[in-house]
């Protein structure tokens, strides 16, 4: 099976600055893939290389088997990119913008699909409004719509929910999930890790131009061993026997980390023995954010060493 996206040893230098350092990545058709990393990790540069907005210094990238440089016309036809910047052409209305964008892809009679996108992105009321007159959130919707006019099998969204209200975020993800179910490959970057965790089946984490983690979302979360429990106690003192498990203590809440859930029983037993009463108890599940913090932190300490 031809991968939806194939990136081979991509390096990118901007003068003396290394933006990407030997990226290898393969994303299969139908995946919902997250590209995560702190600002400046190289996510957008990588997306720009896929889209042909930036040329790689070395290495190659393919979309559905088509090289983004040698076979750029086919590669771009198969790719829809929602850029991060809120850009628009102030000369046109929403519908005109979408008709023009369709035309760039060689599509003349695209009205029924344009209507459908407009409907799904809740743009119907604004279809004949000039782009200038739209709010930021509305402009963001149009950007998404523009990336979809040619029904690309591979859709890349670069921080589509940055500065977007809850309603649009939900509507947007509903639509994108629908597209994913219909067979479109989705790649997204976001700083909202709960979004990535809820939506994506596979995750790559980038740091300083390198892939530092690449696995299924579930495997990454499972890699965090153990569980945490958050307690509020009366009296507000932690028995000495439990001190080794303490990972944080903040405003009357103690967070204890255990290797396995069964150890929670021992914790409760120890509390009972010390005649400490549990006022509140919360089990903390490891999540993608924890993995992210751990991976970003650990590579840092490796570099320091």
């Amino acid at each position: 099976m031809t991968p939806a996206i194939e990136i081979n040893q991509v390096h990118k230098y901007f003068g003396a600055v290394t933006a990407l350092e030997g990226i290898d990545l393969e994303i299969n058709p139908g995946e919902f893939f997250a590209l995560l990393g702190p600002n400046g990790a190289g996510k957008t540069t990588l997306i720009h290389i896929l889209a042909g907005l930036t040329l790689a210094s070395s290495g190659s990238a393919r979309v559905m088997g088509h090289d983004v440089v040698a076979d750029y016309r086919e590669a771009r036809r198969l790719l829809g990119v929602v850029p991060q910047e809120l850009v628009f052409d102030p000369f046109f209305t929403v519908r005109e913008t979408l008709v023009i964008q369709s035309g760039y892809y060689g599509l003349k009679k695209n009205d029924s699909w344009i209507d459908e996108i407009i409907h799904h992105l809740d743009l119907a009321d604004k279809a004949n409004t000039n782009m200038r007159a739209l709010s930021g959130g509305m402009k963001r919707r149009v950007l998404v719509a523009q990336a979809l006019v040619h029904k690309p099998p591979v859709i890349v969204l670069d921080e589509p929910t940055a500065g977007v209200d809850v309603e649009l975020r939900q509507a947007l993800w509903r639509f994108i999930k629908q597209l994913n179910r219909d067979g479109h490959t989705i790649v997204l970057t976001t700083h909202y890790l709960d979004e990535a965790e809820a939506l994506c089946n596979r995750v790559a984490m980038l740091k300083q131009g390198k892939v530092v983690a690449l696995d299924s979302t579930q495997n990454l979360i499972n890699s965090i061993s153990g569980a945490s429990v958050r307690l509020r106690l009366s009296p507000d003192t932690l028995p000495a026997a439990l001190q080794p498990l303490l990972t944080s203590h903040d405003e009357g809440y103690y967070v204890l980390t255990v290797k396995e859930y069964s150890e929670i029983e021992d914790v409760l037993a120890a509390l009972r023995r010390a005649q400490v009463q549990v006022l509140e108890m919360q089990l903390l599940q490891p999540d993608l954010e924890e993995v992210f913090v751990k991976i970003m932190g650990s590579t840092e300490s490796q570099e320091a060493a």
Partner: protein, 251 residues
């Protein structure tokens, strides 16, 4: 073809939607030039024997309007798209660099033609301007506006900011147009300036264009044609090369 045609059409709409600024304003400015220069110089200057100065001036001013507006169209469209970032929609699309080139250049030609026609038609209401050879007129209009349209693409890509584009316009395009013989026949110049004028490609565009009206010119229209075609090919080659390599567009 649809992709190219869409971009071309969009570029036409872009200036047509603001035609007050992009068509009417330059027509008015050119007519003001005509009014003032003809008023001041009519009795003092005769460029060609038997041709009134005002009538001599008209084709030059028409061509100047054509050239300046052709340049303004592609260059301002590109710099605006780049500064606001919406150039990304063209760059993300499968449009080839040749299609992008053709669309921008042809839209420039269209704007040049519309403005030039506007100036010409208004002056026809007041003056009798002979028209010896329409093919020459058309040929030089098309070539001149295409050349300036391509130059506009180069300037629009090269300039990072609006003031750099303004510098390109004010320090290169404007002096070359003003010193090209729009307002005078170069035969009236001292020998040094006369020979210097022969190095100005704009001179050949104006001179050849004027030949179409009067059947008289400073140099042979065939020679002018050869020079303008050569310039157009050279500038087009450079423009295509810039677009192909993604110079300042694809980093």
């Amino acid at each position: 073809m649809t992709g190219f045609y869409t971009l071309f059409h969009k570029e036409l709409l872009r200036f047509w939607k603001v035609s007050f600024q992009t068509v009417l304003a330059p027509v008015l400015t050119t007519l003001l030039y005509l009014l003032i220069f003809s008023h001041v110089l009519e009795d003092h200057v005769q460029a060609y024997p038997g041709v009134a100065y005002t009538v001599f001036l008209i084709p030059g001013l028409v061509m100047m309007a054509v050239l300046q507006n052709a340049f303004a169209n592609s260059s301002s469209s590109l710099i605006q798209s780049r500064v606001t970032g919406n150039i990304v929609f063209v760059l993300l699309s499968p449009l080839s660099y040749r299609e992008i080139f053709l669309a921008y250049v042809l839209a420039s030609v269209a704007r040049g033609l519309v403005v030039g026609m506007g100036v010409y038609l208004v002056t026809l209401g007041f003056f009798e301007v002979p028209l010896r050879s329409f093919p020459w007129v058309l040929l030089f209009t098309l070539l001149g506006s295409a050349l300036l349209g391509a130059l506009g693409v180069i300037a629009g890509i090269w300039a990072e900011k609006f003031d750099q584009l303004a510098a390109f316009q004010n320090f290169i395009i404007l002096p070359l147009t003003f010193l090209s013989g729009v307002f005078y026949s170069i035969h009236s110049l001292p020998p040094f300036w006369q020979s210097l004028s022969h190095f100005n490609p704009f001179f050949y565009m104006i001179d050849g264009f004027r030949y179409g009206f009067f059947g008289v010119s400073d140099v042979s229209p065939y020679f002018s044609f050869a020079i303008v075609v050569t310039c157009f090919l050279a500038v087009s080659w450079l423009t295509l090369k810039m677009l192909k390599t993604g110079y300042k567009l694809r980093h």
